[in-house]
């Protein structure tokens, strides 16, 4: 890979554009409401679509009668499931699956026409329970590893005899000798954890506009992973068609929800657009968002861990089952691989065994959500180790300290050393900070107070042994001194446009206000395999931008040399002014015609980013209600290109983590949603955020990242829910192994005894 290890002197350069708290480039237009999201978009001659959806979780669709819908005023087209472009057979596999769709002149007519559709479904036995999904007599959702267009697919190997049906994916891994490890352990603890079906609750629900140009389906919507989504869609609607995804001016948030295409979004809008020859807009309502878009994978972890009496981790055994829902999308694989590999990047584990299966069910779809799999895994693992430490009479902090990895540790994942590992510094500085800011005593008489911590790790980007991650960028400097930057990043609110502008400003020596990062355009032809996913925007796209910006700076310097006649090495460009040997000139007086440069970066590693989070809770024993009093998020981000935005990423993650730990889940009863609306689904607000929330940024400097930067968006997620649950354990004496844990569960636990006696 291109060497990007900075010299020390260069690293210590004053942080101007990079490292500064630069205001988001889009903050004013967002605050003033000028921004146009994809849901705001309308194009000429556009039709509005609505979808008739299944109200049973599994059934055979015998017939669809579209006559009344077709004759409804304003309806341009009505199509049944079998007419849709895509892998739609005569079976519906989840509540909310597609039965038929309508395109009409306005949204109300489309919705009304959908209500006029008559259909005949014969309900089938359904699979809802994770443990029963793979047994030999389970109803079949799909054959094992079905042919179905998805971005990540590999052949199943070593299939376990216990998992004979409905297998989406299967992974197994063994390091060392687990039996021997347990034999040498003094204390062994085993428990089962079940994670919640949490929804992103993005403010803007999924929507797109589909239109055709010849054999090309053009879809206008925000997609984080354009390459994978185009692959999915191409497979769904037929390889003879081309797919082009166009970005709207601004995106509603994603948190993984907009990484991939959705089976009942683009193919449905695309079919109606083709049938009518007109652009078609499909916009999910909140109910569809819950039942036809994705939620986090419900995942069951059976964990067994053993330590010596002084706290050395001797063996860890993980048995994982994850619910990928009714259709394969490649994400079950990621839940498993992250559950499999991350423990080995957090702890020195000589003896490790993993077995995991992703199963099909007739529950609502699961998909990408911030920290896929690693969020669930870390909650379970860090809860488990905390409990194990208490069981062994050890301080949970000491147990972590004893076993955490460090810089230079060669991970069994790929045998390569970790180049930057700030986890111990996170622990140390996090605890110091917590001591300084914690409440320490109850706010209310009779309340139970406790604190807990958890560590977590997630990798940055998609590089790995055998997989090179790369990106390209293009920069244009105009004669007026303004700069346009084209990259593979998709701005979804994470702030990539601002960070990438900062990098250009830093390298070229321009005011950040002059730099505009264009929204992603596929026709720029920039080579990049993934886009804005996996916390890779700053790391690898930023590195490509840095490379291009350095080339631009070199070109500019040469032109300044020609103009001023001073030695190139004496030239400094700052704030758009070039100076050297006592003379200076505005760069717009140097640039006579537009300068174009291209940059590229690649990496074969995916550096791990670490966090140690500490929570303090207060529990009202008379109601079971939890107040999150203090929270410290100590996070190793390598280098903070923009500390304010890093803090915002951490704060946002804390909100998602609290929902996972305490509040939110889409409840299904035999596949039927019980709270698929925002009145009943308890999404949290700033009221539920910690009273005191402190971010402690640790910069462990990753040699492969621009300025030492690593990812933050995803790695911020994993430690949150376990830190809160470990604090609850400390406060109540009870270990909660199902999330979210609500007030009633806590109240009952306290009523039934145990209480603080269990606390060591």
């Amino acid at each position: 890979m291109r060497a990007r290890v900075r010299q020390k002197a260069e690293r210590d350069r004053p942080r101007t554009a990079v490292g500064g708290r630069v205001r988001r480039r889009d903050s004013v237009e967002k605050l003033t409401g000028e921004v146009r999201y994809s849901s705001d978009l309308e194009v000429d001659d556009m039709l509005y679509a609505a979808v008739c959806r299944s109200n049973v979780p599994h059934g055979t669709l015998h017939s669809v009668d579209l006559d009344d819908a077709r004759s409804y005023p304003g309806v341009a087209k009505a199509v049944g499931r079998s007419d849709l472009l895509g892998p739609f057979d005569d079976r519906v596999r989840h509540y909310g699956d597609v039965i038929a769709a309508v395109a009409a002149d306005d949204a109300a007519s489309a919705a009304a026409a959908v209500r006029a559709i008559d259909y005949d479904i014969e309900p089938l036995d359904a699979v809802h329970d994770l443990e029963k999904a793979t047994v030999t007599d389970a109803p079949l959702v799909h054959g094992n590893n079905p042919k179905f267009s998805q971005p990540i697919r590999h052949d199943l190997a070593n299939e376990h005899p216990r998992h004979s049906r409905n297998v989406d994916d299967y992974h197994r891994r063994e390091v060392g000798d687990v039996q021997a490890g347990f034999a040498a352990a003094d204390v062994i603890h085993e428990d089962t954890y079940l994670s919640p079906r949490v929804n992103h609750c993005n403010l803007e629900t999924h929507n797109c506009i589909a239109e055709w140009e010849g054999d090309t389906l053009i879809v206008t919507e925000t997609i984080g992973n354009v390459t994978h989504a185009e692959h999915q869609l191409g497979g769904w609607i037929g390889e003879e068609n081309d797919i082009e995804i166009r970005m709207p001016p601004a995106a509603g948030s994603s948190f993984g929800g907009r990484s991939l295409a959705k089976l009942s979004l683009e193919p449905v809008a695309g079919t109606l657009a083709r049938e009518t020859g007109r652009p078609v807009k499909l916009w999910f309502d909140r109910g569809e968002e819950f039942t036809a878009a994705d939620s986090r994978h419900v995942t069951r972890y059976l964990i067994r861990a053993g330590i010596t009496s002084d706290g050395q981790l001797m063996a860890l055994d993980l048995d994982v089952v994850t619910d990928t829902g009714p259709y394969p999308n490649g994400v079950g694989h990621i839940v498993l691989s992250n559950s499999r590999d991350r423990p080995l990047e957090l702890y020195k584990l000589d003896n490790f065994r993993f077995e995991g299966v992703s199963v099909f069910t007739n529950n609502t779809p699961a998909g990408e959500y911030r920290g896929i799999g690693v969020t669930q895994l870390t909650w379970a693992l860090e809860s488990h180790l905390d409990e194990l430490a208490r069981k062994a009479g050890l301080d949970p902090v000491d147990l972590r300290e004893r076993n955490l990895v460090e810089t230079g540790y060669e991970r069994p994942v790929d045998g390569r050393p970790i180049e930057s590992c700030g986890v111990r510094e996170c622990l140390e500085r996090g605890l110091d900070r917590f001591e300084a800011v914690k409440r320490g005593h109850p706010n209310h008489e009779g309340s139970l107070r406790g604190w807990g911590m958890a560590a977590g790790v997630h990798t940055t980007g998609a590089g790995a042994a055998g997989n090179t991650d790369s990106s390209e960028a293009r920069i244009s400097l105009r004669p007026d001194g303004s700069v346009r930057v084209a990259t593979a990043a998709v701005e979804m609110g994470q702030g990539s446009s601002t960070v990438l502008a900062q990098i250009v400003a830093q390298e070229v020596g321009l005011p950040v206000e002059r730099i505009r990062v264009d929204r992603f355009r596929r026709d720029e032809g920039l080579s990049d395999p993934y886009g804005s996913v996996a916390s890779r925007s700053t790391y690898i796209i930023g590195a490509a931008v840095q490379d291009a910006a350095q080339r631009l700076a070199a070109t500019l310097r040469a032109q300044v040399t020609d103009e001023l006649g001073v030695a190139e090495e004496t030239i400094e460009i700052e704030q758009g002014v070039a100076s050297g040997s006592g003379v200076s000139i505005d760069i717009e007086d140097v640039v006579n015609e537009e300068i174009h440069v291209r940059g590229r970066a690649e990496t074969a590693v995916s550096p791990p980013s670490y966090g140690v989070h500490i929570a303090e809770v207060e529990v009202d024993p008379s109601t079971g209600q939890v107040d999150l009093v203090t929270y410290v998020a100590a996070q190793d981000i390598g280098f903070a290109v923009n500390p304010s935005m890093v803090e915002a990423q951490l704060e946002g993650a804390v909100l998602h983590g609290i929902e996972f730990a305490l509040n939110s889940e889409l409840r299904l009863s035999d596949g039927f949603p019980e709270n698929a609306n925002l009145a009943d689904y308890p999404a949290i607000s700033p009221w539920e955020m910690p009273d005191t929330l402190v971010c402690e940024l640790i910069e462990a400097h990753e040699p492969s990242g621009p300025y030492g930067a690593k990812g933050v968006g995803t790695p911020a997620m994993p430690p949150i829910a376990p830190a809160i649950h470990n604090a609850l354990r400390d406060a109540t004496g009870h270990r909660f192994t199902n999330a979210p844990v609500g007030a009633e569960t806590i109240y009952r636990a306290l009523q039934t005894g145990g209480g603080r006696e269990g606390v060591v």
Partner: protein, 296 residues
């Protein structure tokens, strides 16, 4: 299987109470009254309610705002939560301020109305118990003219009131606090998230002896623990004439089990709600008493 017949919805926006009444009479059971839409729109969207005619009463001037006259407050039915919490009545009666502050979010409070909350008669709503403990009366207008009934008898069952098809709720009246009587009130609510549906909600209004040591009067009402908003008469009866100390309040609070009939639902199990009702009755009565003593 069918999603049901498609329907065109007619939207009416009367300017007077008489117009609204005649629209109700004309359209009968096909019509639904709409003010802020904070309950109705959710039901319509979920397909739980079907309406061919929506009669929007939010523009009827006579239904809006509050006034204070002849010893009572009159609150127009189309007064929004926000207007009510900013009114002097919410200063006189903390129970209203407490209850409204915990309803939904700012958007809901800007649109949701007093009349909507009462006519919807969802026992989980927060405002009805708050008005119940203030001995509110409701004013009803219909084809046969106006009538006034006690709020308590207005609620007949789950989401059901004594309103006839051709009637609408016009106003709520609440007596002003009497001079010289020590009155305190409070609302306490338990919910999974701030502003969410009540798991249990308790409203209390208390009248104390001059020295604040004895309950001379007490009204208690609960949300989310029965078919309707319920009065907790067993607790009230056992507290009248009793001292205002913690022990008396705790003893009486347990009586609430006799007043309520909660069910298992998304917000909690029936047994949890029973326990929470007891706890919240204690806390709410404490809050109402403290309101007085704090003023002293």
């Amino acid at each position: 299987m069918s999603g049901g017949p498609a329907s065109e919805v007619t939207y009416e926006r009367p300017r007077t109470i008489d117009e609204a009444v005649s629209l109700l009479e004309r359209h009968g059971p096909d019509a639904k009254l709409l003010a802020g839409g904070q309950s109705l729109m959710l039901l319509l969207r979920q397909g739980l309610v079907d309406a061919n005619v929506l009669i929007d009463v939010s523009q009827i001037d006579a239904l809006r705002g509050t006034n204070r006259r002849k010893g009572e407050y009159t609150i127009g039915a189309a007064t929004t939560y926000r207007e009510l919490i900013e009114d002097s009545i919410a200063t006189d009666y903390r129970v209203l301020e407490d209850a409204i502050a915990d309803i939904g979010d700012r958007q809901v409070r800007n649109l949701g109305t007093v009349g909507g909350a009462l006519a919807h008669a969802d026992p989980s709503l927060d405002l009805p118990p708050a008005l119940l403990v203030l001995d509110a009366q409701v004013e009803i207008a219909g084809t046969d003219g106006k009538r006034s009934v006690a709020l308590e008898s207005f609620f007949e069952g789950y989401m059901s009131t004594m309103l006839e098809r051709d009637e609408l709720l016009v106003a709520v009246t609440v007596p002003e606090p009497f001079d010289g009587v020590r009155v305190g009130s409070a609302y306490r609510k338990l919910s999974s998230v701030k502003g969410g549906w009540a798991t249990v909600g308790v409203a209390a209004a208390v009248q104390l002896s001059t020295d604040g040591s004895v309950f001379e009067g007490i009204q208690l009402a609960l949300a989310a623990v029965g078919e309707t908003t319920v009065r907790a008469r067993a607790v009230e009866d056992s507290l009248i004439g009793e001292p205002t100390d913690d022990e008396s309040i705790a003893d009486a609070a347990g009586m609430v089990i006799e007043d309520i009939d909660p069910i298992d639902d998304l917000s909690g199990s029936a047994t949890y709600k029973q326990d929470m009702a007891t706890t919240l009755v204690m806390r709410t009565v404490d809050g109402a008493v403290e309101g007085i003593m704090g003023d002293a």
